[in-house]
């Protein structure tokens, strides 16, 4: 696989009036790589995606896309496609008309209607190709937006929340298309709030918070950033489990948390994995059946919350709710 950089950004800064949307961002996305962009609302994701699509230019720093330095608005090279803030579709036109118009504008209509049909088939919208987009669900619009991007045979695909509103089948379609594109050498930059999407698709992620990068690297490295996680234990004897957890070194019982199965039905503990292993041994030795053991918050999500600082806020809110 070609690993030459599709995107290379250094020290990218972008402000809107007094608001600094991006502050010294470095970004590297290799060809054939699916790169996730995550961050809380207002972190600067959309601004960064807009820069990649050429909708705006950075105030300072350098941005190289597909080997071309981008210094002016709408000056990104051929081969960049995608959407931010949802796909731009015209509801009074049919799915086919939307794509045909785009193909004509971008001069990809040389192949006749074949390209359009191929794109529609790839996202599973062949059956509704001649229906007006007005009647499409959010998920269908997302898929049509992806088809519009595919039409231009992109080498860099920029997608903003591509799984928004998708049912499981639609999500499967979209994931498959993105994976195939990446396998074919297309670099994909996608933003998402759904960690399961990132885990399923991305090899690397960049986490933004208030315009700055708080993490950038492989997913495996991100999981390690999560620190100590909360784990939920569902056992045959919650009282004994609670006592044993309290007695296990390096492990703390988190008070006031339950799974919704009723007070005292489970135990939530916090600590490193070895301490958790020790607790399992003690439970077995005490004859307590372990029915369920897993993190309360998935590791990637926990890492995200920890890195962006939103975890603290959520925990505090949680505690206030408990009171």
């Amino acid at each position: 696989m070609d690993t030459s950089p599709a995107v290379r950004g250094r020290g990218i800064t972008k402000s809107f009036g007094d608001v600094v949307a991006l502050n010294g961002i470095d970004l590297d996305v290799g060809s054939g790589q699916v790169h996730g962009l995550v961050g809380p609302n207002g972190a600067g994701k959309t601004t960064l995606l807009g820069l990649l699509l050429g909708l705006a230019v950075a105030d300072s720093g350098s941005l190289e896309i597909l080997g071309t330095t981008v210094g002016r608005t709408l000056a990104v090279p051929e081969g960049v496609a995608g959407f931010v803030d949802g796909p731009g579709l015209y509801p009074s036109l049919t799915a086919r008309q939307n794509l045909t118009a785009l193909a004509s504008l971008r001069r990809y209509d040389a192949g006749g209607t074949g390209n359009v049909d191929d794109a529609l088939e790839q996202v599973g919208l062949t059956d509704v190709a001649d229906d007006r987009v007005r009647g499409f669900s959010l998920g269908m619009r997302q898929r049509l937006g992806l088809a519009a991007a595919l039409l231009t045979k992109p080498r860099l695909l920029v997608l903003d929340e591509p799984s928004n509103g998708l049912d499981p089948a639609g999500k499967h379609h979209v994931h498959r298309v993105i994976t195939e594109l990446a396998a074919g050498g297309t670099a994909v930059v996608l933003s998402s709030h759904r960690m399961d999407d990132l885990a399923a698709l991305c090899s690397e992620v960049t986490i933004l918070a208030t315009g700055r990068i708080v993490f950038s690297g492989p997913l495996s490295k991100l999981a390690a950033e999560s620190g100590e996680l909360d784990y939920r234990l569902v056992t045959s004897d919650p009282a004994t489990a609670h006592r044993l957890a309290s007695e296990t070194p390096d492990l703390r019982v988190v008070p006031g948390r339950d799974s919704g199965q009723g007070p005292g039905a489970d135990v939530v503990v916090r600590g490193p994995v070895p301490a958790l292993d020790e607790l399992v041994v003690r439970l077995v030795q005490a004859g307590v059946a372990l029915r369920e053991l897993g993190p309360v918050v998935p590791p990637l999500e926990a890492a995200f919350l920890a890195l962006t600082g939103t975890g603290t806020v959520l925990a505090q809110t949680d505690q206030e709710d408990q009171r």
Binding site: L55, V57, V70, R72, T73, L74, D85, L89, L105, A148
Partner: protein, 451 residues
């Protein structure tokens, strides 16, 4: 911060203008609202003209309305007069006033920018597409009105605004020319629509701007404004086409009206273009800004009105309201003489010429304390003419309602045999009396009067 969109120097090529134009046209024509408008413009005038022309009660308050059952060409002019008042500003509102704003409502600006990669080309494509649709609508109004009139009444001579008769071929040419004249102010309102659409984004005020402007201008036209101000209004050409139907044609107000309209159209388009290129397309909630609207749009247009008034006042002999006693007398006498000949033909009497009639008029406004000039419904005129073959002089009285735009309605007040009754008894039965009530048009720019 505002991200100014500029033309790319490197990177992907922008989409060709023709491709963008086709796309914009497809988008416009796919809207049910536009389709409905097109259908209405191509069908409704024909149905209206055909239905009204066959009635005994005609829309006499509209110019040429009283001639609708006499010739098929009058119906199209009634449609034109109505269109100039309401239809054309509203049509431009719905097409040009929405062509940019619709992208704001749909949230498709970013998509379009990425697809076309040139705001300049987007502007050109949208402008041309909306212009095309507006022309299709106007063509529909024109063709439909003419077709309805000719089908219902037939291809007969048309009586002009000064009572002279236009042969069918001349009537056809002049009617088409009148519609062509109305295109210039239509372009003005279309350009103002573009400006509103660019300026106000998603705000419905953008859509309403041409209609709002039309309403304000119509109010202004009702006022007894100085003639230089009236001619400087961009909607004056919507009225000035009536001057085509006099002999000789009142070309001065028409040419000035066309020039003013085109200046407005160009200026508003340029303003819209500049604003569009400076727009921040990253702001999805764009609704325009008050100060920007004032500085970038309202002030330049107010300035062009002031400039136009100055130029017209300096370059033409026009003074006051343009409606003077002598001009009105001359216009009334001319119209009376033409229509007298028509009445003579109806009554199967020996033909007379206008020169033999030597018609003159004496008009007085209000009582002796009122100055004999300006618009009003208190003009009272006595028309005198020489009866052919005799030394006797005939007199007929008219009450005139003169509006600020120079149009007047002359209402015959007797004697009954000449102009006091709406019908005349002809050898083949009763017929409408052409001298009873008729429309006339004073040339607001004429400097000298012929008694």
């Amino acid at each position: 911060m505002t991200a100014t969109i500029t033309e790319p120097r490197a990177g992907a090529r922008p989409a060709p203008v023709m491709h963008g134009y086709r796309f914009e046209l497809v988008k416009l024509l796919s809207q049910w609202r536009i389709r409905l408008l097109l259908l209405a413009c191509w069908i409704a005038p024909a149905a209206f003209v055909a239905a009204v022309s066959l009635q005994t009660s005609l829309p006499a308050d509209t110019v040429f309305g009283r001639w609708m059952n006499a010739t098929g060409w009058a119906g199209s002019l009634v449609v034109l007069d109505f269109s100039c008042t309401w239809a054309l500003p509203l049509l431009t509102s719905l097409v040009a006033g929405d062509v940019f704003a619709i992208e704001d409502r749909l949230g498709t600006w970013r998509h379009l920018m990425v697809a076309v990669r040139s705001p300049r080309r987007i502007f050109v494509a949208k402008t041309l597409a909306s212009l095309t649709v507006i022309l299709l609508l106007v063509a529909g109004l024109t063709a439909s009105g003419i077709a309805g009139g000719l089908a219902a009444v037939g291809n007969h001579p048309l009586i002009g605004m000064d009572g002279h008769s236009l042969a069918p071929a001349d009537a056809a040419g002049t009617v088409l020319l009148a519609w062509a004249c109305a295109l210039a102010p239509t372009l003005t309102f279309a350009a103002v629509g573009l400006l509103g659409s660019v300026l106000l984004g998603r705000s419905p005020m953008g859509l309403l701007l041409p209609a709002l402007l039309a309403f304000v201008l119509q109010l202004a036209q009702l006022l007894p404004l100085p003639v230089a101000v009236q001619l400087a209004l961009p909607s004056h050409a919507f009225l000035a086409w009536r001057g085509l139907f006099t002999s000789p044609a009142q070309t001065g107000p028409i040419l000035i009206g066309l020039a003013v309209s085109l200046v407005w159209a160009i200026l508003a388009t340029v303003l819209a273009y500049r604003l569009f290129l400076r727009r921040d397309f990253t702001n999805l909630a764009y609704d325009g800004s008050g100060r920007r609207i004032l500085v970038a749009a309202v002030l330049p247009l107010v300035a062009v009105v002031a400039l136009s008034v100055g130029v017209i006042a300096g370059a033409t002999p026009a003074t006051g309201s343009g409606i003077e006693q002598s001009k009105l007398q001359n216009s009334l006498a001319t119209a009376f003489a033409h229509l007298y000949r028509l009445q003579t033909q109806e009554l199967n009497r020996p033909d007379v010429t206008e020169a033999q009639l030597q018609a003159t008029a004496s008009c007085d406004k209000g009582d002796s304390r009122v100055l004999d000039e300006g618009p009003g419904n208190d003009w009272r005129c006595v028309v005198s003419w020489h009866l052919p073959g005799t030394t006797a002089v005939g007199n007929a009285i008219y009450q005139l309602d003169v509006t600020a735009d120079g149009r007047y309605v002359a209402d015959g007040d007797g004697p009954k045999e000449v102009n006091g009754y709406f019908q005349v008894r002809t050898p083949i039965g009763d017929a409408p009396n052409p001298l009873w009530q008729f429309d006339g048009n004073v040339d607001l720019l004429a400097s000298t009067s012929k008694e």
